[in-house]
């Protein structure tokens, strides 16, 4: 990986290229397969893995059975109150056993971040001209954007989610993500410990046909703040912890699924203020007051909430799925009540 960096050819871009090449080279070969029943490939979750909206499932993405390879592209758009998430990626499922995924997420921020950026810009300009100390926070006056790349892999270990209706054994898969957040300065400002980190998960998925219900339970071992969009860990370090996630889906028709999801989030940055040039913002309070911006300081305490969503996924055919959801993400860093609509499109080969 170090070598890839030196060559100025990011590993993640290489992975994307690899996935894209695989996807195109298998499209017409004997390995190509799309033999799964409609909708049973699931949709693409925001980290790029096959699953629900925010939770990876034990299902392998795409429509390939154990006889071949299949893949998909996804685009997810979530305009929340103060942030907008765009997530674009590709994933390939191999022999219904193994899955590789790549996703690039960008989170544009607004309001509070704009205000902060403006303040820091002004304050930074002052300290720069007075003391030759520019302040670098990673927050721009307008439209600060957080970028993150996620590489994922998943392997199905045992079990059969769909056809083993005569026992309780779920399909079980283990997987991992490697996430690279590009906003070093901003994450320092927000107090995160790391910008890059891995997380691992184990998922169990089962369909209960007599009650038209799918249940997925996932345990994710991670130190992520807001899935890594706000980095990993906090002032107390970045020890990982196990966080549960649950998806409950009702099969409404053979091409329509509705459901709810819950994902436990951490509290690494809860109560944490914003740090500038090694100083907690509280020490900047007098400066802010001088500038007539005393009200800003009060909004600078970060919090993180568990994520919830309610979704409807529609599968008009095996080449397309459309997932619409209402996402309730609660507190995201400095801004509360981040709820909004979520749209995810998945194109399968």
């Amino acid at each position: 990986m170090e070598e890839a960096k030196r060559n100025k050819f990011p590993l993640s871009k290489g992975a994307a290229l690899f996935v894209a090449m695989l996807a195109s080279s298998i499209s017409h070969g004997d390995l190509f397969d799309s033999g799964k029943v409609l909708a049973t490939g699931g949709v693409s979750m925001i980290d790029g893995a096959g699953g629900g909206g925010i939770t990876p499932w034990a299902t392998i993405t795409g429509y390939a059975t154990k006889e071949g390879i299949n893949g998909d592209l996804h685009y997810t758009y979530a305009p929340l109150a103060n942030y907008t998430l765009h997530s674009v990626g590709a994933a390939v499922g191999f022999w219904d056993r193994f899955e590789l995924s790549y996703t690039s997420s960008s989170l544009t921020t607004g309001s509070t971040f704009d205000t902060l950026g403006l303040v820091f810009d002004t304050v930074g300009g002052l300290t720069d001209s007075v003391a030759g100390l520019p302040i670098s926070t990673g927050i721009e006056p307008f439209n600060t954007t957080i970028d993150m790349e996620v590489i994922g892999a998943k392997v199905r270990v045992f079990g059969e989610a769909i056809y083993d209706s005569d026992n309780f054994i779920p399909q079980v898969a283990v997987g991992a993500f490697y996430k690279t957040n590009k906003n070093d300065e901003l994450l320092t400002t927000l107090g995160a410990d790391k910008t890059k980190d891995w997380e691992a998960y184990i998922s169990a998925t089962k369909i209960f046909f007599p009650i038209n219900t799918l249940i997925n339970i996932t345990a994710r071992y991670t130190a992520a703040n807001q899935t890594g969009l706000v980095g990993f860990g906090g002032p107390d370090g970045s020890d990982k912890e196990i966080r549960p996630e649950i998806s409950l889906a009702y099969l409404l028709r053979k091409d329509t699924v509705i459901g709810v999801e819950w994902a436990k989030h951490g509290d690494n940055l809860n109560g944490q203020s914003v740090e500038i040039a090694g100083l907690d913002l509280t020490s900047l309070q007098p400066t802010l007051e001088t500038l007539g911006l005393s009200n800003v300081a009060g909004t600078l305490t970060q919090n993180e909430s568990d994520w919830y969503d309610a979704f409807v996924a529609f599968f008009p055919n095996k080449n397309l799925s459309i997932t619409m959801a209402y996402a309730m993400l609660g507190n995201i860093t400095l801004t509360p009540d981040q709820h909004g609509f979520y749209l995810s499109l998945q194109a399968s080969f």
Partner: protein, 153 residues
């Protein structure tokens, strides 16, 4: 690691072995159980017969699988036996006179993709006979475990 996989594999096989086998002697034991009025939801034995005819109609239109059934021969007989089988797995009081699913499919080399194609035909037939999706899933639950006996490749 090897030990772990072995433990998982053994546990898995024990669980599979402990689950009911399928000699077509009665209703499929699923979790949760198939509705007690499943045959009635299908419109009784006549409704089940309609569904099986629909199933074969869609199978014969699907080039991935129609040759398998055609080569097996005597479609009328297949429909007759399948009507018995479907009633049986749904909890109907009938006798199944055909061969076991394992015996009937042993030499056919059925793939999972082909099995899934029949599942798709099953859903199409449910829609064609105006059956609710919920009732259709009672049958899917009842037939799903036959995957182990039917898919041999």
């Amino acid at each position: 690691m090897k030990q772990l996989f072995r433990t998982i594999a053994i546990t898995f096989m024990l669980c599979v072995a402990a689950s009911p086998s399928f000699s077509q002697t009665g209703k499929t034991g699923t979790y949760p159980p198939i509705d007690s009025d499943a045959v009635e939801q299908f419109g009784g034995p006549e409704g089940v017969r309609n569904w099986v005819e629909g199933l074969f109609y869609y199978i014969m239109l699907d080039n991935r699988i129609n040759h398998v059934f055609r080569e097996f021969g005597n479609i009328e007989r297949q429909i007759y036996l399948n009507t018995q089988l479907v009633q049986l797995v749904l909890g109907g009081d009938v006798e199944y006179q055909g061969a076991s699913m394992a015996a009937a499919h042993a030499d056919l080399g059925i793939t999972l993709t082909q099995f899934n194609a029949v599942v798709e035909a099953a859903y199409n037939s449910c829609e064609r006979i105006q059956l609710t999706y919920e009732a259709c899933n009672q049958l899917i639950a009842g037939l799903a475990p036959y995957k182990h006996a039917i898919v041999t490749r």
